[in-house]
Symmetry: D2
Subunit: 278 residues, 4 copies
């Protein structure tokens, strides 16, 4: 028996959905502490997130909810539990470090299972926090061979989310397809701008007055998945591209951690190539 | 018969409210296009805003909704109509001008009935837009006498909102009490900071790096009502207090117009000295 | 004899420039009220903006300054005078209206000579402000023919700046080349993102969480000139593309007016495809 | 012989200061890489920060500069060296952790000598980074007795800056007077708002839509010293005061680190109760 849950439902839109769903809650004698609903009329899709309290059997509730919503609906009754995350990184520490500190601080509703990196430079930082650091070098390996090793490692963990905290390798479609909706990335730019190798250099050369960062789910294309959060920071002519990079790091880490918390709090629906963030 | 409405309900919280309300919608055969709900658990208050479409008699719907919610509930079924606003101003044109332009542009879901001012300097600007300008000087009058004249003028209009667009006179409690929840003000500061005569001078003297503005409902105390919107703008040591004032005007007009649109779109609940903004 | 000037110098960098320039000021007995200098070391370029007070003959001062800086230097001694601007628009009123209000308000250090438009819809708004409205329709004309008429009209004014306040026609390189560094544009996007026909629709479809606007000088390519100012505004899944457009307008007008004021205050150097903003 | 320095001068304003100072640079054969100057005309004060390169004896340069500026001038020729900082904390880890990560990352132009805390809870975090953690409990001690112990500890280090990274004890005027212009604090609010015990609770109760943080030098009064940096973050009715506190922490750490970097880069002049930030 559970006492509290987040209920997330997304399905084709139909008349009466709120009524039927809230009737189930009512029949169970549950309180709705908060509730948000959104209908994408163009796409004909319904999204709802409720926080409920009371006494209920979560599996039965899930079944009973499923019975009142259209076929193919996604119904999740999520009772309080710490999620598990695996971090992937390369050599930059700002985004990774921010998550490690927040984790150490008890701010994240999750445990960090491990940090997997294709360079060894972050080992010291990670082990300071008593988190397993798994070094999987890519040297001499094809992309597929390297990813096979990473996946083998990932199999050891029962994780909910993979966070690419400045993991600087491009993932193959096969890798991404294996963890749908589970890979979070921070993009070193204000998407869709300056895609490519050195976005800060591009930004510098273009003379922009603002730079930004974008946290998104990873789909086939590394930089093109559903956006969860974005933010920006002002820059000016006195910033060379290294200064822009430095400023960019600050916004990157803030945006990634914000997106991660939204995901851990089950506030994010993926809807095609977009997100609904409640 | 109406085809579309915003339904706003606020009342004491109780189990089953969403169910009972959505059942009414369902029994009427209505679609819920969007729906937001918030429960202030500490205060035991429930707030809900739904946009519904279908075919319904709005008065009957309102009654039927009232029948399923606790006594004392505030139930509003608001069908599409342009609201009416009266602007009050003194001599500064930035906030007033921004609203006039938006109105001329068709952006506001409202008509401007008149501008009432205690100075004559803005007549030219207002009349350019073919809006009646009513000059009610305060010279030689007590505050009560002046307000009596203003109220007499206000009686001529069937307005929904009074917008104080830099109206620089303090309103008496009697005046405010007459239009509860209907008076919108832009405060020349990031509340609760720098209350008083020349906030920009105070901000300059304090050497702040950010200045802001606050749009709020007016209650007894001019600067202390429920906050609707706030925003800020960065400043630096090169700003003298007049520069700060100039920067402040930009943020004032943006914040006031944002708050006005929220109010016109029926997105704002007053909840004690706070607001719920859906 | 002048009493106050802004002195703007940009030239190849050399040792001793500040010394030589400030020596001229000193020999003239001038006060330096403010002074900013920037060296782009990579490009070997020097930029300086000083505000001076005293008593001086501006032409002689300009000559004496020119004598101490490298050949090919750009030296401007700008004494206080209201600049002149010509606005160009099509049918959207938000950016134009904001400038008209600021002008009426005395906020701009400039006079508006005329508004030239390729549609007639804004005539009413412009004439409310007693500004000449010149309607030059493009129907049935080639781009070159239409621009010839616009240039003929422009010849009548002794303007400093052309502001494209949502002028929705693409300018030919010939037109742009005629007014180098004098044409200001507001781009309906956060450059370099979403270039093209309906950026807000693109932004909506991409599901971005922030939209922005960019004010820049126009060079050959309408959207690629030196950036003067940029800003952003948060959006979310509840915004359809029209809502994004509406939000975008607010940021567009703020950014364009900010850039215009910077230009009118002689704070902007063009440096290749970038700007130095003091 | 040095090759690079930051030169900071603040003094009473006089005609010819830039000339005289730049003449010294010129006579030394130095390049001015960047230069910013500000005159507070009201106060009659001159501020200048130059970055110079060349070959020079820093002490002689400092003397020669002093000879050309008014009596009482503050002249600093600062050659490249890592500054030293001592952190003081209590039990919250967000601000401290952010600085530790930045330090580990090589981002700070400084070394951390030690963390002094009046609680022991942060020992683990600090020692992970191989930074000495000094626990000085205040239990049973008067404020003066406790501070005496802290000062005794501080004497061991040759520090440039003390950073109060959420040090939750009020400092006596005697303590503050001992380290003038050297103590940096992060204030848990957007000054001058919500001074007092639980600012987030106050913010919640006031229903603000934005919360902020302020980094400042500490003078007599803990919360009233010269402001270096401020920033804000939007909140809404769904934030209870704990959510506001959490959001506040994010802005606190960003603002404190930004201010710290400004100070380490010698970009901040204290000017009465304000700062000039170049």
């Amino acid at each position: 028996m559970a006492e509290r849950a987040r209920v997330l439902i997304d399905c084709n839109d139909e008349r009466g959905l709120v009524y039927r769903i809230s009737k189930v809650f009512y029949d169970y004698g549950l309180n709705i502490d908060s509730n948000r609903e959104f209908v994408d009329k163009e796409a004909g899709k319904f999204f709802m997130r409720s926080v409920i309290t009371g006494n209920f059997d979560e599996e039965r509730l899930q079944e009973d909810l499923r019975a009142v919503v259209p076929e193919g609906a996604n119904v999740r009754v999520i009772t309080p539990r710490r999620k598990k995350i695996v971090l992937m990184a390369t050599k930059e520490s700002h985004a990774l470090g921010d998550i490690l500190i927040r984790h150490a601080d008890g701010e994240l509703e999750a445990d960090i299972e491990a940090v997997i990196a294709n360079r060894e430079v972050l080992r010291g930082l990670v082990e300071r926090f008593d988190i397993p650091f798994v070094y999987i070098p890519a040297d001499g390996l094809s992309r597929e061979e390297h990813e096979a090793k990473v996946m083998e490692e990932l199999e050891k963990y029962d994780f909910d989310v993979i966070v690419l905290a400045k993991y600087m390798r491009i993932l193959t479609p096969a890798f991404v397809a294996r963890y749908p909706g589970k890979i979070l990335n921070i993009h070193h730019s204000f998407l869709p701008a300056f895609i490519g190798a050195n976005p800060y250099k591009q930004a510098y050369e273009r003379g922009v007055k603002i730079i930004g960062a974008t946290a998104h789910f990873v789909t086939d294309d590394l930089d093109e998945g559903p956006i969860i959060a974005q933010d920006v920071i002002p820059v000016n002519h006195r910033f060379d591209w290294r200064d822009m990079q430095r400023a960019g790091r600050d916004v990157e880490k803030v945006v990634l951690s914000r997106a991660l918390n939204l995901v851990l709090n089950d506030r994010v629906f993926i809807h095609g190539n977009k997100t609904i963030v409640f």
